[in-house]
C-alpha cells in the first residue's frame, strides 16, 4: 500500500513537472504603454485592443498611461531622462526624428513579422538612418471642404479632382461677390500649409537633398508664399484680424466661406452644418500634394522586453482588431493599405466624397523635419506674419528664413 502511494506520488510529481513547470517558467511580462491619442475619448476602444492582444499573447500584460497632447512630450521627456521610459509609446512624426537622433528608440526590424500591410510610405516615414525605429499607427490628411449651397448660389461648378488653384481662385471670386460677409476661401497661411503648397508647386523645397543648406528662398518658394498671401491681399480670404478670434471652422459652419482647407478630423464637427457640403482633394499648383500627418508607435531603447514590446507595437498598429476598432469608432485611420478595413468608413456621409481621403494619399507630403523642429516652425511662422503685415516682402522674409534655417541645421 505504501509502495503504491509512493509510486502515485512520484507519478503526480512527474506530471506536475511536465505540465506546470514550463508554464511557471514562461515569464510574465508587463509592458508600459504611454499614449496621447486614446485619452479621454477612446480609452474603451484601447482596452478592447489590449484585451485582444493579451488573449492572443498569454503572459504579456499591457498597462496604459495617458496624457493630453499638450503635456505628453514634457512627461515623456521626463520619463526618458530619468531612465524610466515606458516600454512602448506614441510619437507624432514631427517629434520622431528628435527621439530617433538621440538614441532613445529601439530598432525593431528584427522583431517584425514582415507581413503587416502598412502603407510603404508610412513605414518609411518612421525609418531613421536605415533602422525601423517606430511603426506607423494612424494617419490623417487635409482636404478642400466646400459649401455646396454657396457654390449653387454663385452658379459655380463644384470642385473636381482636376482643379488647379487658378480654378479655385476663380470660384472664390464668384462666391466672394455674393456679399460683404461672405469669403471665397480660407487656406491657412502658416508653416504647415507652406511646405505642402511648396510641394504642390513642385520646385520649392525647404532644404537641399543632403540637408546641408536651406533653399527656402528659391524663386519657386517666393512664388508659393506670394500665392498664399495673395488670397488675403485680394480679399478673397479673411485675415486673422478680420476673423477677430473666430476660428476657420466656425467661419465654415456659419456658412460664410465657400472653400476651407482643413483636416479630415473636422468631419465630425461639420456633421450638423445647416447647409450641404462635401470634400474634394486639394487643387494643384503644378502638381497634387497632400499632407500626410502620421502618429507612430515606438519601443524604448531601454526596454527590458524588446520582443514583447515589438509584438504589442505591431498588434496595435497593424492587427485587424486594432484597425477595425479604430475605423468603427472614428478614432483615427490606421496607416494600412487594406481597403476592406475602410468600407464602413467610406459609407458614412457627409461628406459624400469620403473617398477623397484615400485619393489624397496618392500624393503624400511629410513635413521637412530637422532635429530643432519647433524652432524652425516658429521662425518660419514669425516671418510669414511679417509678410502678412506688409512689413517684409515674401523674398525678404524667405531670405531671413534661409539664414535662420541654415543656422538651425548646423
Amino acid at each position: 500500500m505504501l509502495r503504491q502511494t509512493t509510486k502515485l506520488f512520484f507519478v503526480v510529481l512527474m506530471l506536475a513537472c511536465t505540465f506546470i513547470l514550463p508554464a511557471a517558467a514562461q515569464e510574465e511580462v508587463t509592458l508600459r504603454y504611454f499614449t496621447f491619442s486614446a485619452a479621454p475619448d477612446y480609452l474603451e476602444e484601447l482596452d478592447t485592443i489590449i484585451a485582444a492582444f493579451e488573449e492572443a499573447n498569454p503572459g504579456i500584460t499591457v498597462e496604459v498611461t495617458t496624457a493630453p497632447f499638450a503635456d505628453y512630450f514634457t512627461l515623456l521627456q521626463a520619463d526618458v531622462v530619468s531612465g524610466d521610459a515606458p516600454d512602448v509609446f506614441e510619437l507624432n512624426y514631427e517629434n520622431f526624428v528628435t527621439y530617433a537622433a538621440n538614441d532613445t528608440l529601439l530598432d525593431i526590424s528584427e522583431y517584425l513579422s514582415g507581413d503587416a500591410p502598412y502603407y510603404p510610405r508610412a513605414l518609411e516615414a518612421f525609418q531613421y538612418e536605415g533602422a525601423q525605429l517606430a511603426l506607423p499607427e494612424t494617419f490623417s490628411t487635409v482636404l478642400m471642404f466646400y459649401n455646396a449651397d454657396l457654390f449653387d448660389q454663385a452658379g459655380v461648378e463644384y470642385p473636381t479632382a482636376e482643379w488647379t488653384w487658378a480654378e479655385a481662385t476663380a470660384a472664390a471670386e464668384a462666391i466672394d461677390a455674393l456679399g460683404d460677409d461672405v469669403w471665397g476661401l480660407f487656406s491657412p497661411v502658416q508653416f504647415w500649409e507652406f511646405y505642402k503648397k511648396a510641394a504642390q508647386n513642385g520646385e520649392c523645397s525647404f532644404f537641399n537633398e543632403d540637408m546641408t543648406e536651406s533653399t527656402i528662398n528659391s524663386e519657386a518658394c517666393v512664388e508659393t508664399l506670394s500665392t498664399m498671401v495673395g488670397f488675403i491681399d485680394s480679399d478673397l480670404m479673411p485675415s486673422a484680424a478680420d476673423l477677430s478670434g473666430v476660428s476657420d471652422s466656425e467661419l465654415f459652419l456659419s456658412g460664410n466661406v465657400g472653400m476651407l482647407v482643413t483636416g479630415i478630423w473636422m468631419f465630425g464637427a461639420f456633421q450638423d452644418a445647416p447647409f450641404a457640403w462635401d470634400v474634394q482633394i486639394e487643387p494643384a499648383i503644378n502638381q497634387n500634394a497632400h499632407h500626410f500627418f502620421a502618429n507612430g508607435v515606438a519601443v524604448s531603447a531601454t526596454t527590458a522586453n524588446p520582443e514583447a514590446a515589438a509584438l504589442w507595437s505591431e498588434f496595435l498598429t497593424a492587427s485587424e482588431t486594432a484597425a477595425t476598432v479604430r475605423v468603427e469608432s472614428g478614432w483615427e485611420l490606421p496607416a494600412l493599405d487594406q481597403p476592406e478595413y475602410f468600407e464602413a468608413y467610406l459609407e458614412l456621409t457627409p461628406p459624400a466624397n469620403r473617398a477623397a481621403v484615400f485619393q489624397a494619399l496618392e500624393s503624400p507630403v511629410t513635413p521637412p523635419v530637422i532635429e530643432r523642429q519647433n524652432e524652425m516652425q516658429d521662425a518660419v511662422n514669425a516671418l510669414i506674419t511679417r509678410v502678412l503685415d506688409g512689413e517684409l516682402t515674401a523674398q525678404e522674409a524667405l531670405d531671413e528664413a534661409k539664414a535662420a534655417l541654415d543656422e538651425l541645421i548646423q
Partner: protein, 297 residues
C-alpha cells in the same frame, strides 16, 4: 513644559522643519543650483548633458530673439511701471478718504488682483476684440476706428499694459494705503497747529514719509515685471502677428526649455535674467539714500 535638550531637541526641530525644508530643497534650491550647472552644458533632455563652457552665454549675446525679448520686456516695464506707480498712489489717496461705503470700493478695487490671469485674459480678449469688443465699440461712438488690438505687435503691447495696470493697480494701492495709514497722526496735528496748508502737508509730510513704500513698490514692480509671463503667453490672438512675434525673456526661457528642448540654453538665459534683476535691485538699494526717508521716533 519640560525643556528638552541635546538630540531630542534637535529631533523635534528636524521633525517640524523637515517637511518644509525637504520641499524647499527638492523643488527650489536644487533646481536653482542645477540650473547653474546646466547653463554651462548642452542638454536636450534626451541625451546626457555635455559640458560646453560658456558657449550658451556667447550664443545668447548674438541671439536676435533674446535681444528682441529683452526689448519687449523693457518696453513693457517703461510703459507699465510709471502708470501703475502713479495710478496706484492716486487710488490709495482716494481709498484713504473716510467716506461711507469706502470699504466696498476698497474690496472692489482689489478683486482683479485675486482673479487668475487666465480669467483676466479671457475677459480682456473679449473687450479688445476688434469686431465685437466693447473698447472698439466705444471708440466707434466717438468716431475713432479702433485698432486690431491683440493681433498687431504694437497695439498688443499697449493692450497688455492696460490689462496689467487694471489687474495690479489695486494691489499697489493697498501697499500705498498701508504706507499712508502708518504715518503717525501726531505729525499731521503738529503741522496743523503750525498752520500748514494741505499742499504743504502733502509735500513735506505725506510724500517724504511715503517714500519707503514707494521704494518697496518700485523694487517689487521691477522684479515682477522683468519676470512677466502670463499676459504675453495668454493674451495675443492665436496665430496672429502678435502671437508669433511678441516675446519677453521668460516666454523665451519657457520656449527654449520645453518646446525647443534646449535646457542648457534656457538655464543660461535664466541666469542672465537673474543677474539683470540683481544688478538693477542693487542700484536701487544704493540710490535709496538719496530719496527715501524713514520716519524716526
Amino acid at each position: 513644559m519640560v525643556e528638552q535638550k541635546g538630540l531630542v531637541k534637535w529631533a523635534w526641530v528636524a521633525a517640524f522643519l523637515g517637511p518644509s525644508l525637504i520641499g524647499l530643497w527638492v523643488f527650489v534650491v536644487l533646481p536653482i543650483l542645477s540650473s547653474f550647472w546646466y547653463a554651462f552644458n548642452d542638454w536636450n533632455l534626451l541625451s546626457p548633458p555635455e559640458f560646453i563652457g560658456t558657449d550658451n552665454f556667447v550664443e545668447l549675446a548674438g541671439d536676435d530673439r533674446f535681444w528682441t525679448a529683452l526689448g519687449y520686456t523693457l518696453t513693457f516695464i517703461a510703459l507699465y511701471v510709471p502708470v501703475v506707480f502713479v495710478l496706484g498712489l492716486a487710488l490709495a489717496l482716494l481709498l484713504n478718504q473716510k467716506v461711507r461705503g469706502m470699504l466696498v470700493v476698497r474690496a472692489a478695487s482689489f478683486l482683479p488682483v485675486v482673479a487668475s490671469w487666465v480669467v483676466v485674459s479671457l475677459i480682456w480678449k473679449w473687450l479688445f476684440n476688434p469686431a465685437y469688443g466693447l473698447i472698439n465699440y466705444g471708440l466707434g461712438l466717438v468716431g475713432i476706428e479702433g485698432p486690431a488690438w491683440l493681433f498687431d505687435p504694437g497695439t498688443a503691447v499697449a493692450a497688455m499694459v492696460i490689462t496689467s495696470v487694471w489687474k495690479d493697480v489695486g494691489y499697489i494701492a493697498l501697499l500705498y494705503l498701508g504706507g499712508l495709514q502708518s504715518i503717525s497722526n501726531t505729525l499731521y496735528e503738529a503741522a496743523h497747529i503750525d498752520g500748514a496748508g494741505r499742499w504743504q502737508v502733502a509735500r513735506f509730510i505725506t510724500l517724504p514719509l511715503l517714500t519707503p513704500t514707494m521704494f518697496f513698490v518700485l523694487i517689487t514692480l521691477l522684479i515682477n515685471y522683468f519676470q512677466m509671463f502670463e499676459q504675453v503667453w495668454l493674451m495675443p490672438m492665436r496665430d496672429s502677428a502678435a502671437d508669433r512675434q511678441v516675446e519677453v525673456i521668460v516666454t523665451e526661457v519657457v520656449r527654449n526649455a520645453f518646446s525647443y528642448n534646449r535646457m542648457g540654453y534656457a538655464s543660461a538665459m535664466s541666469w542672465v535674467l537673474f543677474a539683470l534683476i540683481f544688478a538693477i535691485t542693487l542700484v536701487q538699494l544704493r540710490l535709496q539714500k538719496r530719496w527715501v526717508h524713514y520716519e524716526t521716533d
